[in-house]
């Protein structure tokens, strides 16, 4: 592959709509063969970014290179080599699964047999079903199948599992993981933390059109300082704790970060068996009453919250 081992590289990407800066100076590198996730809340600019990378939107400014090529000069060649699933596409209601796949296959010079792709997304039994009769999960798998049927080197998936039930989400994750076994790259966007942690080698966190963190899910979680989270709800307190109470918590042994919540606080801790006894002592001494205490592994959600002070789905 020319252009080094980069599947996607963009610099200084800007997309301005009247009144909105959808993408605000984004730099990104997706390595060949990796699964890269763009993570961010609704309106963060994920779709805009991905559609620019897919050559479907023109950026206001910035430079894009995909598989070592540029959209301005190599559009057709590039289209043969990438697979795209848009955030929302409504395929024709009254075509069958098989007809849709055969149609999409015909648009590529070379690709995979529709039959085989149908199997890969477990839709063989639905081959003669009209699109309008499919469930949400089946429609989404068909959309991904349409992206796979051209046998792409790089797959773009924009929120592939948004709105799906857990079972359908798992099925779709299997499809993506199966695709990756051949060593090909994926760029996906999501606002589901589990999805990014489960599928992605590296994650870029996007907010207000800017990349605010980048790394493997492990690294990002480690950047919190602790991999465990203790969430505490207090009884008999009127509102959030004050700064001095937060500082006191931060000085406890094993506590790496403190975030105040409406009825208590969440601590990033390391290790949990040191922090927990210290916390219990502190609560008793300070005369606070515990309503609820829960420990769990830190997730990318915690990373996002610690970076922005907001939840991902707020």
């Amino acid at each position: 592959m020319s252009g080094g081992a980069c599947a996607v590289r963009c610099r200084g990407l800007v997309k301005r709509y009247p009144g909105v800066l959808a993408v605000d100076g984004l730099d990104l590198e997706v390595r060949a063969g990796e699964c890269f996730g763009l993570l961010g809340p609704n309106g963060a600019g994920k779709t805009t970014t991905v559609e620019i990378l897919e050559g479907l939107l023109d950026p206001t400014a910035g430079d894009v290179e995909v598989l070592g090529m540029r959209w301005s000069s190599d559009e057709r060649a590039l289209r043969e080599r990438i697979g795209v699933s848009l955030q929302q596409t409504h395929l024709p209601d009254r075509l069958t699964v098989e007809e849709i796949l055969v149609l999409f296959r015909s648009l590529f010079a070379t690709g995979r047999a529709p039959e085989e792709v149908m199997r890969a997304v477990s839709l063989e039994e639905k081959r003669r079903a009209h699109y309008e009769k499919l469930s949400g999960g089946q429609k989404q798998r068909l959309a991904v199948a349409c992206a796979l049927v051209g046998d792409p080197e790089l797959l773009f998936l924009d929120e592939p599992t948004t709105g799906l039930d857990p079972q359908s989400r798992l099925q779709l994750w299997d499809v993506v993981q199966e695709f990756r076994r051949t060593g090909r790259g994926v760029l996906l966007t999501t606002h589901y933390m589990e999805e990014a942690e489960r599928l992605c080698d590296r994650v870029g966190v996007v907010d207000h059109g800017k990349l605010i963190a980048l790394g493997t899910p492990r690294e990002l979680i480690a950047s919190l300082g602790g991999e465990e989270v203790i969430e505490v709800a207090l009884e008999g307190v009127a509102g959030p704790l004050d700064e001095s109470a937060a500082t006191a918590l931060l000085h406890l042994e094993g506590v790496r970060a403190v975030r105040l919540t409406p009825d208590g606080f969440a601590l990033a801790v390391e290790p949990v068996h040191v922090a927990l006894p210290a916390l219990i002592d502190h609560v008793r001494v300070a005369g606070m009453r515990l309503g609820r205490l829960m420990t769990r592994h830190a997730t990318l959600e915690d990373v996002f919250v610690s970076l922005t002070g907001r939840g991902l789905r707020d």
Partner: protein, 347 residues
């Protein structure tokens, strides 16, 4: 993983998809085939050619009334006795077209602006004068013909075919493309190596093939059900219909080129089609409009299409005779496609 070469070309698959979607949409089938047939039957029944109604005439009472009555009553004239006020009333209401007051002098009362009144006056006077002994110097004979090709139904059916070609081409292309755009399918297809020309051509091919089915079916129906003349040059009929459908395909593409939702394109389409429904001679002749409007009306593509279909079906015109109309339609096709391709919003 097996890589394979595409078994069928993109253009073929795109066109097949358009056909499948069309035949799986029952309402589209109805508007293409059912609607013109239903309309032709309804209008054909309403305006069918009946034997001429007898003229109704009132005769005022008097000594000669009974004799006048018996001389007049026939297949062409139905006469009855009515006193003056009643007869006036009947004339005003159109129940009679003429009042005869036996003379001498004999008086005819009629509404000068109604042609039936004047015809009745001539016929009635002729009858009575002869009965009273007038001798015509030259013997006369009459021959009756009904000219196939000059009835209202002969006028109507080609107009209905033209109208159907217009609306099915415009809806079939304009509406369908905007619907694909709102469903983000145009964008989705553009994310593949699909040629844009294949995408557009698939719509045009589909329209063209439908013309080849639609026009023979509708003309055949007209010939069988209403005794339309069988066209002397079916090829000319098809050629005019094809080029006409292409011109409207281009206009459909043009109205769809920017529209972002189906309401917009629906509105635009009605704005384009409405003047032609009225002014292009579908239900009544373009000649009814003032002279000043004639050049504009004749420039409209539906006028050219309807005139061409009428010439080819009713008068048996061939290619050569229809050439000016064909050229006009080709111009519409070229110009509308050129404009649509310039304006078309792909993304």
């Amino acid at each position: 993983m097996t890589r394979s070469v595409a078994p069928r070309s993109a253009l073929v698959e795109l066109t097949l998809a358009r056909f499948r979607l069309f035949v799986r949409e029952p309402s589209a089938l109805f508007w293409t085939f059912g609607f013109p047939v239903v309309l032709a039957i309804a209008l054909g029944v309403a305006f069918r050619n009946r034997p001429p109604e007898p003229m109704r005439v009132a005769v005022e009472p008097g000594p000669y009334a009974q004799r006048t009555l018996s001389e007049l009553d026939s297949a062409q004239v139905r006469a009855h006795v009515a006193d003056a006020p009643t007869a006036r009333q009947e004339l005003r209401l159109g129940k009679v077209v003429l009042i005869v007051t036996p003379g001498p002098p004999r008086t005819y009362t009629l509404d000068e602006t109604r042609p039936e009144g004047r015809a009745a006056r001539l016929l009635v006077d002729d009858r009575l004068q002869r009965a009273e002994g007038r001798v015509d110097p030259t013997p006369v004979a009459e021959e009756h013909v009904t000219d196939v090709g000059a009835r209202y139904i002969d006028f109507l059916i080609p107009g209905l075919i033209g109208m159907t070609l217009m609306s099915s081409s415009m809806w079939g292309i304009g509406y369908a493309i905007v619907e694909l755009r709102t469903k983000k399918l145009v964008k989705r297809m553009l994310a593949t190596p699909m040629r844009r020309s294949d995408f557009l051509l698939s719509f045009v091919i589909m329209r063209a093939v439908f013309v080849l089915v639609e026009v023979p079916v509708l003309v055949g129906f007209g010939c069988l059900a209403f005794g339309l003349r069988v066209p002397e040059s079916p090829l000319t009929v098809i050629a005019i219909a094809l080029v006409g459908a292409l011109a409207f395909a281009g206009l459909g593409l043009l109205v769809a080129s920017r529209a972002q939702n189906t309401q917009t394109v629906g509105g635009l389409m009605n704005v384009v089609m409405m003047p032609m429904f009225i002014g292009s001679g579908v239900f009544f002749s373009t000649a009814n409009f003032p002279d000043a409007l004639q050049p504009a009306l004749h420039a409209l593509p539906l006028t050219a299409l309807n005139d061409g279909l009428r010439a080819a079906i009713n008068e048996g015109a061939g290619m050569r005779a229809c050439m000016p109309l064909l050229i006009s339609l080709v111009l519409w096709t070229v110009l509308s496609f050129a404009a649509a391709l310039r304006l078309f919003r792909w993304r």
